[in-house]
């Protein structure tokens, strides 16, 4: 397989089970692939159970059920129960939409450890606009139900130019809802967020102001609510460490059973991401081309190859390098040492121009109709 084995293969510790791409909401910053409708087949309950068992045996212990909206899978409770029996710590990552009191009780009974609910904004109007669906009131009710059942309550709000001005109200809302953890996730520009980048990327001034408000609040509520602030890497001069190191910690399984070293890896050329229908998790983790592709540092080019920070960030995100420079072996252009670093400034300038323009183009919402526009015609696939 690719590369030499001058590294130890560590066991996977996190399994991200993307159960489905179905979702009743249409967030324009969704990280699912643009052409998700092309991958609409879903593996069966029995397949998922085998995946959970095999990954657990190899060492995976943190388990995220996500999607799409994982609640749309009718076998969710059954899978949670299976995960509990295997000794996973299971997290449900949900929009909260469709989560009834009865369902939460069933999930709790089956052994679900934690529920993360995402809210789009601090007002009903903006939340419902961004979600593309009336969902604000339901989400707030669900947050209370989750809290009442004794779950640690984790609220996630994705931050971008459409809601960044609500930072003070978002913080107050989280405190009012009794959140134990608040994740303020600045949008990462993959999938739908990348397509909508001109409309979502905040200006540096907006970002700095929001950050200082969040940091001050963090001090104020530090004994009550933990705030995680996910930095938007476009305003950094070093990239984020790719998945804690490619193929070292994280294993993602897409709805159709394709195993991914990172959630966007399907878009990278020539990785041949393996399917759980053909291989065991052990074969996938240890032997597959995709999981070995960026292990170690044999693949690196300059400036990463001779960089003394390469142990820290592993050259950054390969998907971002591919998306923004066309070459996945390049340094992540977020890095100021990258010769392509200018593409980041160009993106910031382009977003700013869009914000100032009289007739800004509309957001592209994540739904099947729009997704079909991104599905490449078959002949491209034959060449690719």
């Amino acid at each position: 397989m690719a590369g030499s084995n001058n590294f130890n293969i560590t066991p996977p510790r996190w399994l991200l089970a993307e159960l489905t791409y179905k979702c009743p909401l249409q967030c324009p910053y969704c990280s699912n692939p643009l052409d998700y409708t092309k991958h609409s087949t879903e593996i069966s309950t029995e397949d998922w159970k085998r995946v959970l068992s095999e990954a657990r045996k190899m060492g995976a212990v943190q388990l995220g059920f996500s999607g799409g909206e994982p609640l749309t899978r009718p076998d969710l409770v059954e899978l949670v129960l299976h995960a509990q029996q295997l000794g996973y710590y299971s997290n449900l990552i949900t929009s909260g939409y469709g989560l009834t009191e009865e369902k939460i009780a069933q999930l709790k009974h089956a052994g679900l450890d934690h529920i993360q609910i995402s809210i789009q904004a601090s007002t009903q109007e903006l939340n419902d606009y961004l979600a593309g669906t009336k969902s604000y009131e339901t989400k707030k009710q669900v947050a209370h139900l989750v809290k009442n059942l004794g779950y640690p309550m984790v609220l996630c709000v994705v931050i971008h130019r459409e809601n960044i001005h609500q930072m003070p109200q978002i913080l107050e809302m989280a405190e009012e809802l009794g959140a134990d953890y608040l994740e303020l996730a600045n949008t990462q520009y993959y999938g739908w967020a990348h397509a909508n980048r001109d409309l979502l990327l905040p200006t540096k001034e907006q970002f700095d102001e929001a950050e200082s408000i969040a940091q001050a609040y963090k001090e104020k509520v530090k004994d009550k609510m933990k705030i995680y602030y996910v930095i938007p890497d476009y305003y950094e001069d070093r990239p984020k460490a790719c998945m804690n190191g490619w193929g070292t910690t994280f294993l993602t399984i897409a709805p159709d059973g394709i195993a991914l070293p990172c959630h966007s890896a399907r878009d990278l050329p020539g990785l041949d991401c393996p399917s759980v229908n053909k291989y065991s998790i052990e074969e996938i983790w240890k032997e597959s081309k995709a999981f070995n592709f960026f292990r170690g540092d044999d693949w690196m080019k300059e400036p990463c190859r001779s960089c003394d920070e390469k142990e820290k960030d592993f050259g950054g995100c390969h998907c971002q390098a591919y998306m923004l420079t066309g070459d996945m072996y390049n340094a992540d252009p977020v890095c100021s040492k990258s010769p392509e670093h200018h593409v980041i400034q160009e993106a910031l300038d382009s977003a700013k121009a869009s914000a100032l323009s009289e007739n800004e183009k509309p957001l592209i919402f994540r739904n099947s109709k729009n997704s079909k526009l991104y599905v490449k015609p078959e002949k491209d696939n034959l060449n690719g």
Partner: protein
Amino acid sequence: MSIDPNLLIKFSPMHRLQWEEAQQKYVILYPEGLVELNESSAEILQLCDGSRNLNQIVAELEEIFSASDLKDDINNFLEVALKNGWIEQL
């Protein structure tokens, strides 16, 4: 935050302490988080079951390891644990 020697110490109900066979070590699990523990940290945390205070934990570990100077190390670790929310005092 420091450890009150008079109060009992209990592992947090929001976290889970678990032995991992594949890794041959104890881990702490919490919402979307995972901490891998070394042997001595795991020994200390296992005694945090709400029935002992600081001195009782120290006495017990000193006996297990036939040592007499563990108090500072244990106290330092428990302060970190308290700050991270892994344990609470009752």
